[in-house]
Symmetry: C2
Subunit: 227 residues, 2 copies
Amino acid sequence: METLAILVAAGRGERMGAGRPKAFLAVAGQTLLVRSARALRAAPSVGAIVAVVPADALEEARGLLDASVPGCVVVAGGGRRQDSVKAGLDAMPEGFEGVVLVHDAARPFVPADVVEAVAAAAREHGAAIPAVPLTDTVKEVQGARVMGTLDRGRLAAAQTPQAFRRDVLSRAYGRAFADSITVTDESMAVERLGLPVVCVEGSARSRKLTTPDDLEWAERLVQDGNA
Amino acid sequence: METLAILVAAGRGERMGAGRPKAFLAVAGQTLLVRSARALRAAPSVGAIVAVVPADALEEARGLLDASVPGCVVVAGGGRRQDSVKAGLDAMPEGFEGVVLVHDAARPFVPADVVEAVAAAAREHGAAIPAVPLTDTVKEVQGARVMGTLDRGRLAAAQTPQAFRRDVLSRAYGRAFADSITVTDESMAVERLGLPVVCVEGSARSRKLTTPDDLEWAERLVQDGNA
């Protein structure tokens, strides 16, 4: 079963405080956009990659990708994450019935074995995500009042790429849009249909780069030869 | 109302892979134990500090603390976190009815204003914790199956120091021990009695140092003059 990837790179990256889309920030001289595309390409089963970027950055993204990860399709994203993923889905070849990966450009160091594992799990179960245990003690709150402590053993932090059989993702997205629901990740659209989503083991290296602290961590990872 | 602090430094720190209790690891030449005690002492309302350490590290801890944060009481902890906190409570002056702070030695950079805010909130409401928003998308899981996505707006990650009026913490702990319940933090013992616990704003600087990555982050914080 063929596997295609949607690389979501349309976020504004406001928590970085860098004044430009996060995917165009560089770690050790290479943008997160290019690093993430290369990480996906490094997984043997990944075929085409569709990168979804801000409309005003289409040409820049094409230039960057053509120079180092040739063959990517680049399309303009929308206002919400799900609008960008929809744009990526619309750019898939008609009749494609394989596995679709949806990956954040803000996770440039995802290991190839995580990509392969999540794709394989989606082939078998329809939908899969990489996940890691939470290290925090998580409270349920209502305003400033603590309502209770969640059982950490029953919680996991979702990473990407999330993986879906095309028909499962299309159906879940169709319903989310029809119901005017905003989802925080693709898995959530599938969960609300009651369809199975399974976890595979994520990786600490696939940390989402959100703050300047995260970028420093990434610089060290590259400098230390671990990326 | 007087405020006393229990500094929990009895953890084995296995995720650090350093082969010794975490609180005795150093950041820029100073142990987490001493840094945390100094952070508590920097808060004007904090009076006595009771440090709870592994039984085989009592003398070492006394030496370290006497040299830089004189006046701390040092006692031996137990197997679980709550056994160590109980040992700290038992070392409090008899009849003490002020506010008790319980702080992790693994959070050496807690700002004094967070300590003051949580102590003040406990004075007023009986129990308070510092908390920060979660950045992850959190899934509820059952084994390898994703059961749903939690509403991040209703979740918070608990930090320390957690703060309690002595009577509230003693009662909550008494019940937790009587019921043979293991709690992951002190707040949980209070929550299960249905007593109010309020949140104050935590701080990214008060990150819990759990992995070698966290220690590197801490080294940079000190080197950059931010600690």
